[in-house]
Symmetry: C2
Subunit: 364 residues, 2 copies
């Protein structure tokens, strides 16, 4: 993660993974989720917290999910069903549940199809917020498959040259197994900055950097410096990856439209004009490596490639060159032992809701 | 295309599509390509010229291909073969031919597999330069499939934080059928600017813009203004899409590594360290829409989405909002009637080589 978003250590308290898991599951159970659904939802959230993806962990997302359950806006125990299918593909109706659950079941289906035929892909409609896309892509790894996950919905991004937001931030995740190295896991929004990072800025009281959002008239704001409170998503919308046409914003925009197509149009659930904030569409896929190459050779070549990238001579001011998934793998390794640092404000939220719901919460 | 790269009309002469096709085929035939291989290679090049993708048409690429055939560096009539296969996937050895031919045959195979099982994907090793990736993705369209094509090779891009180039510019193409609208066709390098555009700059005698290349020490050059002659690829390397870490260059870099994996590592042909300039690897895939959704509903929804994007209110200074494939569709429509504008310097090259090879060339 960009240092810019790092929460100062002195503002945090480390919570043991299992303690955080237990209390989070208990909260979901209070809102009517079955035991397996509560466990699965918690696992998706904790995966993000463990890997340092604070934007999609308990601090940023859990209170949103709780709010949706409170208001009856999300089905706590969805009965997902296949609405169209071929040997390798399917469209799933998520029955209005969060993507945390519907995408996991759909990825199981994609993996099952890939196991038999070499590839599998599932488009998911009538679903809610996904959580961290990388979680579902990584489900392919123990099966020696390459995993994909994408999610669409909301209107957070301006098209290149556009003055109105038309598409979501539309992240793409790709996970690839390796041998001894931490696996390659790419997971990124197709805006220049993830939508949830804007939320983090408020907590950190930091200004917006150049190239992240547009001016109110739609032109790229290449000066930055505005306060995070500036109603992002109301008068100031996010720019595609690339920020300006000269820097390649049509590429971020084009990839985001492709994500909308694979998730929203392919699943047939939601027309372009009705991609609403609390209804999302997803796409997951699995490619079996054994259908292309020997698994052991592939994994050895992956190790060689990832090590080669790490061995790149760094530019001035940088200690080392990373690859997607390296830092996340290291952080996960560390946090499983040392606990997950939560901002004190998040601990307060946990204390409050646990008191309301009559859940015991001890954190050290 | 960015206006910056538009060749001034007064420097061009319009050539009829069929005349250009005929003379280009004749040149390929002289270098030993079979009639079908000469036709296919020409079709891939003319596709780019017709759609306004000058970087991958005859002007930028044909002389490179001719040079390779002259030096015996490329197999004019490759015998491609399947080296590993499942119901839906395969790895193909391209027998040292240009991607113009090997990727087309591989996409035929992916489409055949998708027709039977819902999806198909082929990784291709031991191949040469691809040509315009969009051509192969678009092969899926008449079959009511979504087409993918990627290509890896060369070392043109610096990793984020890196001072040495490690990966190619690694374009991704995605083509999606629609009903009445020009189809969505995304085709873009994962650098902030396509490698071949650097070549165009020399012909146009224009400076490099900020965010396109790095300084000699690897730090992003956000000032621009250097001359195109500045040995790009020797002391000055290309930046990933996003240009700087703050603007999201780790996303362009990460996607480029994913392309290297799907093309190079999955096909097992070439280790990371040996991805050389004149040996490339590709990846093509086809997803059958009928395996997810009704084809007619999908195409109607695509039209609605594409029209919705076109209807976006433009930002100041812009006449309209585009989608990937819109301008290319319009240009193709126009050029099929009015001819393909070639820079006088390109006409001179044609005159010269036709004289050498004893090929008649009349252009109006």
């Amino acid at each position: 993660m960009l240092d810019y978003f790092k929460v100062p250590k002195e503002d945090c308290i480390n919570i043991n993974e299992n303690d955080l898991r237990k209390v989070t599951e208990s909260i979901f159970l209070k809102y009517g989720l079955s035991e397996s659904n509560a466990q699965l939802s918690t696992d998706v959230l904790l995966h993000a917290d463990l890997r340092g993806i604070e934007t999609h962990g308990v601090s940023n997302m859990l209170r949103n999910y709780v709010q949706m359950y409170r208001e009856g806006k999300s089905n706590p125990n969805p009965t997902w069903k296949i609405v169209k299918e071929s040997y390798t593909t399917a469209t799933v109706d998520g029955d209005g549940g969060l993507g945390l659950m519907t995408a996991a079941h759909s990825m199981d289906l994609a993996i099952e199809k890939a196991e038999k035929y070499g590839m599998g892909a599932v488009a998911i409609k009538n679903s809610g917020h996904l959580g961290a896309a990388g979680y579902f892509a990584m489900m392919a790894l123990p099966h020696d498959m390459i995993g994909w996950c994408m999610t669409a919905g909301g209107k957070g991004m301006l098209p290149t040259f556009g003055a109105e937001p038309q598409i979501g931030t539309n992240p793409i995740a790709i996970a690839v197994p390796s041998n001894k190295k931490y696996p390659f896991v790419f997971d990124a929004a197709m805006t220049s900055i993830a939508g949830n990072k804007i939320g983090l800025l408020e907590r950190l009281n930091k200004p917006i950097l150049p190239g992240w959002v547009a001016n109110p008239d739609g032109s790229p704001d290449m000066k930055g410096g505005s306060k995070a409170e500036l109603k992002i998503g109301v008068t100031r919308n996010q720019l595609p990856l690339g920020s300006t046409r000269e820097l390649g914003s049509h590429k971020g925009y084009g990839l985001a439209v492709a994500v909308d197509i694979l998730c929203g149009v392919l699943s047939g659930a939601i027309g372009f004009s009705s991609l609403a904030v609390d209804r999302r569409a997803h796409f997951v896929a699995a490619y079996k490596i054994d259908g292309f190459n020997s698994i052991s050779k592939f994994k050895e070549d992956m190790d060689e490639m990832l090590q080669g990238l790490m061995n790149t001579k760094p530019a001035p001011g940088h200690e080392r060159v990373l690859y997607p998934g390296l830092e996340e793998g290291e952080v996960e390794n560390f946090r499983r032992k040392e606990g997950i640092p939560l901002h004190k404000e998040v601990i307060d939220w946990y204390m409050k809701i646990c008191s309301e719901l009559d859940i015991p919460f001890k954190y050290n």
